[in-house]
């Protein structure tokens, strides 16, 4: 059984998601050197980073997000293009900061698994519902697609078929399933939650008793701060050392770090990851 990470990256006018994916791949090579990572993209990957990726896969069946700024319309294709029997899908704006061997062992017990409880940078479980009102007020599974796992099997195929249908008709599905706190744009988290609700498999793909696999979610309103700023970078100091250990407010980060704010990635940070992962 082959295992690997898969990311989708499509740059837009403001964010370089391919560069983020390269940083993610470097972090993977530092902490999980034998785990392959593949990328689905039509954007150019700089030559120096190409060796980080197992497979560079063009977006199949045309780019459904060509006219979109928030490009999630191709995400349902991941099932069909993954080169692995077992796949972890991650957002590009993440870093892998520890060995995930034990996480794979947990995940192999599930056909499909979503993180449902995320953490603050201080290691506390996020309790704020600030970003999750659509889920809570519409009784949707409170899942995150920033980090999820699937196997190549029939249940997962059904899920991704349904996800395709929902993404392509998201307004219709939102009217039916999210009348409260109706999202103004197509959200992959909401689409996936609707798919899981329709399939009635929430208890098979989420385990609220597991503290990990999870990720540290750096959205500012999730941090248990009394006064929330627009960017978490305005609130707390960051530090990346030459071994690519990340500290936020002097809390050493581990597991998966979802930095969410592209300004976290500086030239200095990229240089440290390049040096540590031997990218030249």
């Amino acid at each position: 059984m082959t295992k690997g990470i898969l990311v989708a990256a499509q740059n837009n006018d403001s964010d370089n998601y391919v560069e983020q994916a390269c940083l993610l791949a470097m972090s993977l090579s530092i902490t999980n050197n034998s785990t392959p990572i593949s990328i689905m993209t039509d954007d150019k990957i700089p030559k120096e980073y190409k060796g980080l990726f197992d497979k560079i896969i063009p977006i199949p069946w045309g780019d459904a997000a060509e006219d979109e700024d928030w490009k999630i319309q191709n995400r349902w294709k991941l099932y069909h293009i993954t080169p692995y029997d077992e796949t972890i899908v991650m957002d590009t704006d993440m870093l892998i900061l520890q060995d995930l061997t034990n996480w794979w062992k947990i995940l192999e017990n599930y056909p499909l698994y979503f993180t449902s409880q995320v953490q603050t940078y201080r290691g506390d479980q996020v309790t704020s519902d600030y970003y999750r009102k659509t889920f809570l007020n519409n009784d949707l599974p409170n899942l995150y697609t920033g980090f999820y796992y699937f196997k190549k099997d029939d249940i997962c195929l059904e899920f991704f078929k349904l996800l395709e249908l929902i993404i392509n008709n998201w307004n219709l599905f939102y009217e039916k399933f999210t009348p409260e706190n109706y999202p103004k744009w197509c959200s992959i988290d909401v689409c996936a939650a609707i798919a899981i609700k329709i399939m009635g498999v929430e208890n098979h793909v989420i385990n609220k008793n597991l503290t990990y696999p999870t990720f540290t979610h750096m959205k500012p309103a999730a941090q248990d701060w009394f006064h929330v700023t627009d960017s978490w970078l305005d609130k707390v100091e960051t530090y990346v050392n030459k071994d690519c250990q990340v500290r936020i407010g002097n809390w050493l980060q581990s597991g998966i770090f979802h930095y969410t704010d592209s300004n976290f990635v500086t030239e200095a940070t990229i240089s440290k990851f390049k040096a540590k992962s031997n990218v030249k």
Binding site: R122, W225, F226, K235, G249, N250, L252
Partner: protein, 283 residues
């Protein structure tokens, strides 16, 4: 057989008689906990004069003669400035005469036997990460984290430890943090350069845990309560304490509150002194 005991620091300044507070604490410790109390002080002769019968040992330390001046409030309207000689708390590890030590601030009024359970714990280091304000309206932000985006706050007011190698490292670390506090203020985003033992202990715990959540520090048994220096201790009657708690939005007005059998950390040292002076505590 390991020895158990309580140790209290009492470094008097020109306004506050910490030694006298320790005498009351020692009597209450004997009554409720059956434990001896030793005092660490820069006024050993005075401690002998007024407390030789109640203290197990009187241990001499030298304090910083040019200690920082600090503002001490006496209720919502009055305040005094005096020296705050808190610079030797980390030395407790070597100074304590006991194998198992409960370190207390002198302004803790012991009214029950909950602290006994600390000595039964299988953990070597215990501290409170939460204290309950007797007043309900005041924000607790400053006692949850050392600063809003930083690490968890722990109360150095009340700490249990055994003389283990790991704990020796911990107290050496506290000493180091105190010596280099301006650096740690920046690292931990503290908004003050004024050293507080609570900050030193909180930072040391965070480091001992490898800069993450960890299990170095266990939680002291029972609930801990406090009143701020803007409140007044009105009366001590055995295990019953009567407070005047500052009112929200009414400066200088208070709400009466009484506790029974609750150990309370009374931060208004002046009102504590006034109430102790009414008692016939001094032998």
């Amino acid at each position: 057989m390991n020895s158990n005991g309580i140790v209290v620091f009492a470094n008097n300044n020109d306004k506050i008689d910490y030694v006298k507070q320790c005498i009351d604490l020692a009597k209450r410790a004997k009554k409720h906990l059956g434990l001896p109390v030793s005092v660490i002080t820069d006024s050993p002769e005075y401690a002998h004069d007024i407390g030789s019968k109640v203290f197990d040992q009187i241990i001499t330390v030298r304090t910083n003669l040019d200690a920082d001046l600090r503002r001490f409030k006496d209720g919502a309207l009055a305040e005094h400035r005096s020296q705050f000689k808190n610079n030797n708390r980390a030395k407790i590890f070597s100074l304590s005469p006991y194998d198992n030590t409960l370190l207390l601030d002198s302004d803790v009024i012991i009214c029950n036997d909950h602290f006994k359970n600390a000595f039964k714990s299988n953990q070597d280091f215990l501290i409170y990460n939460k204290s309950n304000d007797l007043s309900s309206f005041r924000p607790q932000e400053e006692f949850q984290y050392v600063s809003e985006a930083s690490i968890n706050f722990y109360w150095a007011t009340c700490v249990f430890f055994r003389k283990t190698k790991i704990n020796e490292i911990f107290f050496n670390l506290v000493d180091h943090i105190e010596e280099n506090f301006s650096h740690y203020c920046k690292v931990y985003q503290l908004r003050t350069n004024f050293y507080r033992n609570d900050f030193g202990f909180s930072i040391a715990i965070h480091i001992m845990n490898g800069f993450q959540k960890g299990e170095f520090a266990g939680i002291m048994p029972g609930k801990f309560y406090h009143t701020l220096d803007t409140d007044l201790l009105h009366k001590i009657d055995g295990n019953s304490l009567v407070f005047l708690l500052e009112k929200e939005n009414y400066l200088g007005e208070y709400t009466l509150a009484e506790t029974c059998d609750l150990t309370v950390h009374v931060m208004n040292k002046f009102s504590l002194m006034r109430e102790l002076d009414k008692e016939t505590y001094i032998d």
